[in-house]
């Protein structure tokens, strides 16, 4: 399958992009600062004292895993929302570049199926998102594991939920680029999907604000299909903080986001298959 070849090309392309160099550098710097300046004193599994750059943080003393649960929850939100916004801007021009005159003709003349080009691009961006989220979360886990003795995969799992949330957003961005080759449009669509994803998470609360009739029906119809990104972020936070999570709700959210992403990607592939270049 040539999909992987396309993916590797995208990753090679990303390697030279300043966005991703900046992200990698920023995460590394953040982890280094945290690792070198944060001092934790753990007594019998309780976080007794913590110092950052020598200054005491005056934190309450409690079980280290409970204390770090709050830290991981906050970090998960940062990874989710920060990562999502970063991804929307930094990945918006991969598809337009793929479709640029001179490049797309060359690629289509190679023995690669059209859907493999799109799928490979999508997979490449997914891998970038995974790598960024995993790097940050694993780094945090290692730092707090070594310093506090709290070893858990929860930060990594919650970071993976951030990637699950990015899937439908980027699928729509990619599809938009197939219809109109524009990085600005692509990132605009990503922003709209993100905003709708947050609003849709509160549709139960917002629905009664619409008067019964066309307005409420339209809002209901428009939002029933959108991924509930804010709910997914909450789920990610709960998972990171070791709070109880409903398996049914989690699986439905994750499955819904994946199905939406796959559906959007297929619309993009359909248009790509039909289109002349």
């Amino acid at each position: 399958m040539k999909t992987w070849a396309v993916t590797l090309d995208l990753l090679r392309e990303a390697r030279s992009r300043k966005w991703f160099l900046f992200l990698g550098g920023a995460i590394t710097l953040g982890l280094l600062v945290l690792g070198l300046s944060l001092k934790l004193e753990v007594v019998d599994g309780a976080l007794a004292a913590s110092r950052f750059f020598g200054k005491s943080l005056d934190n309450p003393m409690m079980s280290a895993d409970v204390a770090l649960g709050a830290v991981f929850s906050v970090a998960s939100q940062f990874i989710f929302y920060g990562g999502m916004l970063f991804g929307i801007f930094s990945c918006s021009d991969f598809a337009p570049k793929l479709l640029s005159p001179g490049r797309i003709e060359h690629l289509l003349a190679l023995p690669v199926r059209r859907w493999e080009l799109l799928a490979g691009t999508f997979l490449g961006v997914l891998i970038l998102a995974l790598a960024g989220a995993a790097y940050g979360s694993v780094g945090l886990t290692l730092i707090f594991g070594v310093k506090a003795g709290v070893w858990t995969v929860r930060p990594l799992l919650s970071a993976m939920l951030a990637v699950v949330g990015f899937i439908p957003v980027y699928a729509m961005m990619l599809t938009a680029a197939v219809f109109a080759r524009s990085a600005a449009l692509s990132s605009g669509v990503g922003g709209v999907v993100f905003a709708l994803g947050v609003v849709t998470s509160y549709r139960d609360t917002l629905l009664p604000m619409f008067s019964p009739g066309l307005g409420r029906f339209s809002f209901n119809a428009l939002t029933v299909l959108m991924p509930r990104l804010a709910r997914l972020a909450e789920l990610s936070s709960q998972l990171a903080g070791a709070k109880p999570v409903s398996a049914t709700v989690a699986l439905s959210l994750i499955g819904g986001c994946l199905a939406f992403g796959a559906g959007a990607l297929m619309v993009g592939i359909w248009r790509f298959e039909e289109r002349d270049f």
Binding site: H106, P111, F277
Partner: protein
Amino acid sequence: MDAIATQGLFKTYRRWLRRTGQAALDGVDLTVPQGSAFGLIGPNGAGKTTFIKVLLGIVRLDQGQVRVLGGAAEDPKVRARIGYLPERLHLPAAWKPAEFLHSVARMKGVRVTGPELSAVLERVGIAQAKDRAIGGYSKGMKQRLGLGAALLGKPELLILDEPTDGIDPLGRVEIRHILSEELQRGATLFLNSHLLSETERICDRIAILGGGKVLRQGTLQELRQVGVCWRARFQLDAGLALPVDGAADATAQATAQATVQMRTAALQAAGFVPAGDRHRIVVNDAAGLNAALDQARAAGALLTELVREEKALEDVLAEAMEAA
């Protein structure tokens, strides 16, 4: 088996959800024999690039049949046997040339080693810049790299759109040499170039595309034979005795001059047009040439030189467009 066989190709570019549009191909029938070097020429907007894209499945046909190397262009297995150089090749600026070639090889399913890639770069003449990023290449260097990518995997069919665009004259010689090596290997060459002199040098078969239709196609000889031009030198005063001394008979001189004029008129009547100290005639075949010569000789003109003038491809193209 023909390398390329098309029948009744129609393609109109329409905007999305619109019925009318711009017709790019208007019934194209074309055959490219395997192992030949085929050139496609025509004015801007004739449909040459569309035709090439149809061959490769980059553009979807409205109507017609296309067979490339015996199969459909949509079949990746067929495209794996084709090497393509597009007119405006966009190369990733941050990559090194070997990385680009390696990427193309991977997509083609061709295993290449480092030394093999270096050999390709050497062959296309950019080995000295192999450690430089593509973004720092000149247009000609990028074109050479694109050609190198097209040659990967020893393709059976090479489709080259303006292959020497941006390349210096000496570089063009190198490119022609590479292409002739590929021809000798058994590959079929399909070339689209505005440089008709290059097309004449490389191709043995040519098609002229105009207004989305094939206006003429055949070997270069066949195309040039329509309206061949001959250049002849006649001695018009042959057999006329002219006095040696100065006290020439005026009557004899007048008779000689009248004879030369008569013979000149006969040449013009036969179709010869004066061109300096020679005459030119355009005939369609050998019979016409012989008839004109007979007529001239019957008038007493002595043929001292006969040279066939090769018709330039520009002329062939211009004539075809005018006829269309």
